[in-house]
Structure formats: structure tokens, C-alpha cells
């Protein structure tokens, strides 16, 4: 438990050095500007992050989060979760031509009734989970720390960030997974002023990912086989039950290209990345049983306009990824050693999405009214080679978000936000074949796929209130509720509340 305080101690000097010329509520209003979030793709380049804020702003927050699902919607995320934690973030223009920023956080909580996944970071390592038929509640702790610096000399801006996050997932009853994950991220970028209004930028980023996954049973009378899942309800039959310890190791390399208008103008962001990882079974002499790569592309281009009263932006965005997984095959194990005789690419997850989105905000006296509209089409197909099976879903995504930000007298500031999102499937095709997997696994996978292919409506409300306690400091409270309905068959409720200290 000392580590959260250590993180806070590291980031506090940075935070406490922050103070701006404007009052805290004005700086807060600038920080939560909707356009800044709307073009967030730009800030992946640490050099361009130099332009993300004009004034220093820091926030210390303590919050709670809770999710309740009426039934399991995605098996690896269970049917609910809760967490509590603190977060500290700060952005400080340091001197005339540089900026530093930092972020640290700690949270602890639990995910309820996780099924068919005893591994952590399922979004990164799917579909190669280690799993058993019992599952259960999974406790977790998260630590994160990151910092960055950007400097400007004449027409050139450069920046770099370094971050580390770690998680610990565990369970106190059988089966008892104990998973440790670590993510080290590093990015560096540069931007060059090609005119008085435009910067062009480029950046590269790298992430090192590691996970150790150990499952124990202490009961004298009962234990379960551990399955090494391989996608769409299949598993590596040969190693079912044989290995309770596995490791994941991966690297992600990415790059961005940017055209950034300092005020109004055309903006372009292109980012590409490749994440690849291996899964090894430690019990079998670090046997590498599977590997996968994940290539991703985002192209975001449009126009933004900034004036004193009206701000707007229209962009088109195209996202795509291809994730392909290979299973290594091994010959006859003689003398306890498995010779690798080949590798078969068996799993694919291919996705693309095209979006058209717009943002507009109008400032009137002490109020700012903002609206974001988004409409798009997405396509995702998961495929498994043999026995051949697939899950296809295509659909329309529409979202509308309305927010009001307002200064209420000299000391109060409030934000109200209301958003609606709907995903309407236009085509779905699920074909799962009987395999050697346990029936419960196949049923669980089918349930997860079913929820991803139905009409999904989400309504979200969030309210934030802040009160200035001096020119430099304010305290606030914020809360949000998101209700998601899955075509009347299931629903998910997500609640967040936080207490904040702004300066």
C-alpha cells in the first residue's frame, strides 16, 4: 500500500508548481474545452501536446466507479465491477517555450463473475486467455505514472513522454489467479512550423508489455483443468489442464503524422501501430504456444474553426485494425521436450470503421453550449480457420452529445452533459461449430457474440460542479451515469463519482 503514496509524492511537486495568470475557473473552462477533446488524436504526438493547453491546470481527484450488468455481456469483463482510486494530472507551461505534464494514479477494485478468462488485459491479449470453467470475482490494483516534456526553439517543437503502468489481478478463493502486468510506454515527436498558421508533426511510440499469469488451487478436494483458449470458443486441446502458469510478452511500435492548424484550418492525423505478442507456458519449459499481431490505422482529417464566440470542427475518420493469431504446433514430446514443427495462423479479427463527426460550440456571456454529432459505419469479422467458424457484425453508429458549461457567479462553475449513442446492426452472421471445448465455454462465447450483434443504445448524463476557494484553487464534485440497453435483452449501468481539487 505504500506505492500509491509514492506515486502521489512523485507527482505532487510538479502539480504544486502549477499556477496561472487566469483564475482557476477560467483555466478549468479552458481545460474542459470540447474541441480539445474532439481533436484528441493530435495530442498523441508529444510535440503537439505543447499546444494542447494555454494555461497551467492541475487536478487531484478521488473517485468511485461502479458497473452493474443485468447479465454477463462480455464474459471476460464479468457482470459488474467497482473500483476506488485517486488520480493526479497536471499540465504546466514551464517557461516561455516549454511545457511539462504528468499523471499518476492508483485504483483498487473488483470485477464480478468473470467467466472463461483468468488472464489480465483481455483487450490486449485476446483471444489467447488462460481460462477455467469456474471463474469468479477478480480483485485488482492499478498503478500508473507518466510524464512528458515539450520544448520549442524557433520553428521546431519537440517532445517526449515516458509512462509506466502496472496491474495486479488476484482472487482469494479457488481458482486463484495471480496476474502481474506491466506496460512501459515511450514516445517522442517533433513538429515544424511551415507557416504562421500550420505545424507539421511526426512522432514514434513504443510500448513493452509483459504479463505473468499463475493459477493455484489450494483446496484438498477440488481443482479444475486450465484451458488455453485460441478464439471463438476453441482451445488448445493438447495442453488443456497441463499448465497453470503462462506468460505474455509483447511490443507495440507506432507512428503518427500530423498537420495541425494553430488556430483555424485543415487538420490531419494519421497514426499506425503494430502490436505483437507471444504466449508461453512456463510449466512446459516456456513452451511458446501462440502468438498474434495487431496492426492498426487511424486517419483523421477535417477542418477546425476557432473564433471568440463560435468554435466548430468537422472531421472524417477511418479506423481499421487486423489482428491475426497463430498457434504453434509441436511434435512428439520425447524426454519432456516439445519440438516445434510448425505454426498455423488460425484466428483473425478484422475491423474497420468510417466516421463523419462534427463539433460546434457557442459562447454566450458566461455560458458555452457545445454539441458533438457522430455518424458512422463499422464492420468487424472474427474468423477461425478449422473448424471454420466466424462472427460478423456490421452496423451504423450514431451519437449526439450536448453540453453546457457555465460560470455561476464569481465562485461557481458547472458542466452538464447529456449524450445518446446507438449502434444499429445492419448485418450479422455468427457461425460457431461444435469443437472439443467444454459446452460451457461455447455457450459463454455465444452469449458474448450475441450481445455484440444486437441494437445497443447508451444514454449518458454527467454533471460537474466546482467552487473556487481562492483565485488559484477550486474544489469540485462530478458524477456520471451511463445506461446501456442491449436490444431489451440485457442492460448495463455505469456510475462514476469523483471529488476534485483543481489548481
Amino acid at each position: 500500500m505504500k506505492r500509491p503514496y509514492l506515486l502521489l509524492a512523485l507527482v505532487t511537486p510538479l502539480i504544486l508548481s502549477a499556477s496561472g495568470n487566469d483564475s482557476i475557473l477560467i483555466r478549468m473552462n479552458s481545460h474542459v474545452d470540447g474541441l480539445r477533446r474532439f481533436i484528441s488524436e493530435t495530442w498523441q504526438n508529444p510535440a503537439l501536446k505543447y499546444f494542447s493547453e494555454d494555461e497551467p491546470f492541475s487536478n487531484l481527484s478521488v473517485g468511485l466507479s461502479r458497473r452493474n450488468d443485468s447479465e454477463i455481456i462480455t464474459p471476460e469483463y464479468g457482470d459488474g465491477s467497482h473500483s476506488a482510486g485517486f488520480n493526479a494530472e497536471s499540465f504546466i507551461p514551464a517557461g516561455k517555450n516549454s511545457a511539462v505534464w504528468g499523471n499518476a494514479g492508483y485504483s483498487t477494485g473488483s470485477t464480478r463473475n468473470v467467466q472463461w478468462c483468468e488472464s489480465s488485459s483481455p483487450e490486449l491479449i485476446y483471444p489467447y486467455f488462460s481460462a477455467d470453467e469456474a471463474g469468479g470475482n477478480l480483485k485488482d490494483e492499478h498503478y500508473k505514472f507518466s510524464g512528458g516534456y515539450a520544448g520549442r526553439k524557433n520553428s521546431i517543437v519537440w517532445g517526449a513522454t515516458l509512462g509506466y503502468s502496472a496491474t495486479h489481478h488476484f482472487r482469494d478463493v479457488d481458482p486463484r489467479p495471480r496476474n502481474i502486468t506491466g506496460e512501459l510506454t515511450l514516445s517522442g515527436g517533433i513538429a515544424y512550423s511551415i507557416s504562421a498558421d500550420y505545424m507539421v508533426g511526426a512522432s514514434m511510440n513504443w510500448m513493452k508489455y509483459k504479463q505473468s499469469n499463475d493459477i493455484k488451487f489450494v483446496s484438498e478436494t477440488h481443482d479444475l483443468p486450465i484451458y488455453q483458449l485460441t478464439g471463438l470458443g476453441t482451445h488448445y486441446n493438447r495442453f488443456a489442464g497441463a499448465s497453470k502458469s503462462s506468460d505474455f510478452s509483447g511490443n507495440r511500435f507506432g507512428a503518427t503524422l500530423n498537420l495541425f492548424p494553430l488556430r483555424s484550418g485543415v487538420l490531419v492525423n494519421i497514426s499506425v501501430s503494430r502490436f505483437s505478442f507471444d504466449k508461453t507456458l512456463r510449466d512446459l519449459n516456456k513452451l511458446p504456444i501462440a502468438s498474434a499481431w495487431h496492426n492498426a490505422l487511424t486517419v483523421n482529417a477535417g477542418y477546425k474553426h476557432i473564433s471568440d464566440k463560435v468554435t466548430y470542427s468537422v472531421t472524417g475518420q477511418f479506423d481499421a485494425y487486423r489482428r491475426h493469431g497463430s498457434e504453434n504446433i509441436f511434435g512428439d514430446a520425447v524426454s519432456g521436450s516439445y519440438p516445434q514443427i510448425g505454426s498455423l495462423e488460425m484466428y483473425a479479427d478484422n475491423y474497420y470503421r468510417a466516421l463523419l463527426q462534427g463539433f460546434a460550440s457557442i459562447r454566450q456571456n458566461n455560458q458555452t453550449y457545445s454539441m458533438t454529432l457522430r455518424s458512422g459505419y463499422s464492420h468487424r469479422k472474427q474468423f477461425y480457420a478449422e473448424p471454420e467458424q466466424w462472427a460478423l457484425v456490421e452496423g451504423l453508429e450514431n451519437m449526439a452529445d450536448f453540453s453546457v458549461r457555465s460560470f455561476l457567479g464569481q465562485h461557481w462553475y458547472g458542466i452538464a452533459d447529456l449524450s445518446f449513442a446507438i449502434f444499429s446492426p445492419t448485418e450479422k452472421d455468427i457461425n460457431l461449430q461444435p469443437s472439443t471445448s467444454p459446452e460451457a465455454l461455447a455457450g459463454s462465447v455465444e452469449t458474448g457474440l450475441r450481445h455484440s450483434t444486437v441494437t445497443r443504445c447508451a444514454t449518458s448524463v454527467s454533471l460537474t460542479a466546482a467552487r473556487a476557494i481562492s483565485e488559484k484553487y477550486a474544489i469540485g464534485i462530478g458524477g456520471s451515469a451511463t445506461l446501456t440497453n442491449y436490444s431489451g435483452t440485457a442492460h448495463s449501468n455505469l456510475y462514476n463519482i469523483s471529488i476534485n481539487f483543481y489548481f
Binding site: L297, D332, N350
Partner: protein, 423 residues
Amino acid sequence: MKYIFLLLLPLFLLSSCDDSLSSSLTHYNISMNISLPDDISPESVSEATATFRNISSGVEQKFTPGTEISVLPGLYDVEYEAKALLSNGAESRLRATLRSVSVTSSLLLTLEPFSCVETNDLIISEIFFTGTLNPSGNNYKGDDYIKLYNNGTEIIYADGLALIESKFNTTQKYDYTPDIMNEEVSVDAIYVIPGSGHDYPVKPGEYLLLADTGIDHRHLNPYSFDLSGADFEWYDVSTSPSNVDIDSPTVPNLDKWYCYTNSYFILHNRGFKAYGLARIPVEKERFLKDNLYSYNYTVVSDAGSFPMTATAYRIPNEWIVDWVNCSVKASYAWTVCAPVLDMGWTSCGIIDKGKDRFFHSVRRKLLYINENGNPVFKDTNNSSADFNPDCTASEIELAGSVMDQYGNQCLTVTYDGITPVKE
């Protein structure tokens, strides 16, 4: 290279509309050369089927003559089965098997089918190797047993029948040299039913119960059952004072020819061994003198390779009456006999040391009840097909004693662990 790839990635992603894999999977064609026994002509063979079981995925593919055999690269167990019409008009089943066939290119496989021969002797109908747990959850030793059965229509005399345990484990494969497995089995325990030839008749439909310790185990473990009525027990004079066997006063002992241990013999309760019956046509002393098998193998570990030497006793396949490979589903590596004796294997529990294996046995599948009301069990020399794995032990059913680690009582009596005995 990675950076070049990053530059090309957008083009790659945008140009590719294929929704499946990066490239189609390569399948390899398999040709099969079936080398029939001399007394069987190709014209007399019908209903041939080749089964390819992918060891990695567990997926089975069946092929019949005339269809192209095309499989993914991988490690396979291949089984061939056909019906053959003998010259005397009788029908016979032809079988062949190849274990752990590595398919990394197109292959020509040569199989030499053998005709299944009826031995007209006792068969192993059940092996209860797991034992029971006591109420505190600890493994109780001594109530393991093997049941033999007369599956035929004539009286069979059990005199001289040897109960044997394989030397090699089915969960760990080594290259043993010299390799005698096609001709002989290697054993580490031999216990023989006494008698002069006609002392122990077993009528059709009768069982013969061979127990580890023939006592009423309920006195020592309330979760166990009574074996004081067993037909025989294997008893060992232990040289270890802390590990002594119990000699039951009510159950005659098997004649111990050889056992690897200096303390007392129990069936391998994790299920790593094979068990068999043999008719050894020579005297004990001559057998032990002539049939010693010395072999070499290499153990490979993180610390290096270690050449090993060991000994066992060898028994020709022709002397084997029945053979059952036992293993663990998650740890199975190979069968420790020639395919002619047993093409498959059976098990209790899914994982090694699994607690749910206790109280369970492997039991031969019921085929039908004959006109005399006796069960007739499946015996095709393929334990995968002949046995029901993970059954409640028959003695637990008969005693109505505890059938799992939670203390639940068994209320059903079955022929084979599945088919209930009708009142």
C-alpha cells in the same frame, strides 16, 4: 524492418479487403498404403475408415476409400479400421494405428493392419486405481482393485493368470533402446493367481475381484467400502517398517513373481500405468531368468541431458490376454504397448493429481445382456472405445458408500458406470 513495415502499413490495411486470414492454410495430402495380412485379399475388405485425430486441437476427421485425405500440418494419431471376410467365411475386424504422426508435408503412410483375435480368456472389466479419500480429504490407500470378467460362454479357469503393470508411464515418452514395444510389453509388477489349473473356475458372467488389501476398509476410512470378500489380494512383505502391507485373513494372496518396490504395491493412483493379464507358459524362476529387459534412455531437462539405464521384465505379446492403457487426459503422451494389444487408452480425471478422480474407475462398456441375463462387454482391444472413463467404482455402487470428495452417497448400481441395473 519494423519501421519500413510501419510506412507500408496504411497501404496494406487499406488495400486488403480479405476478411479471413492473411493467407489460406496449407493442407497436405496423405496417401495410405495398407499392407494387408497374407491371409486376407484386398477384395475381402470392406467398410474401411481412416481416422485422423489432431492431437493439438482434438479434432477428428474420418476418411473412407476414394476420398482425398487432406489435413492441416500437425501431429496426428491415425487409426485404420475395416471389415474383412476370411476364407472360412468368418468376419474379422482389421485394425491398424500410427501414433504421433508428424505431418509437415505430403506423406505416404504405411499401415499394417492386424486381425483382431479372440483370446477366449478373462478380460479386465474394471480398474479402480484412484482409491478413495477419507473425510478429511486425504488420499486413503489400500482399497484399489481390478475386476476380471468372463465375457464368453464357457467356464474359464483363472489359475496361472498373471496380473501385470506396465513399466513405462503413458504420460512421459522416452526413446527406450532397444525398442521392443512391437513384440513385447515391459512390466514392473507380476502377481499370479495360484492354482494347479482347475482350482479357480470363473463361469460365464462371473467376476473375479483382485484387491490391493482384502479387508473391510470402512473400519479405517468411513468413505471406503468392504473388500473382505475379494477373491484375491496382492500382498507384499515390506522391507520398510514404516510402510507395511496388511495381509487379510479372509482373502487368499496372489503369487508374487516380481514387483519393483521393496515396500508394497498399489495401482498408480494418478493413472500413469497400463494393466494387463497374461498367461505365462513357463515357470517363475525361468521367466525371471530369461526375461529381464535392460534398456537405455535419455532424460532432457533444463540442467541438460542425462543418459539413464533401467531394467524391467519383458513379456511377449502372444502371452498377453488383455491389456488396458490408463492415462490422464491432460498429460497423455503415448500408449505403452503394441497397437495389437491396445490401440487406445482410458482415464479418470482430466488433469494430473485432480481431486475429482478419486472414487472413480474405468469400466468396460456394456454391449448387451445375453439370453442368460449376463452382461456382455465391449472388447475390441481399443481402450478408448471399450471403456467408460470416470465412472463411479462398481464396489462403491454395490456398497452404496460415498462416491465423491463431498461425501455424497452412491444410490445407483450400473453395469458399466452408465447403464443402470434394472431391478
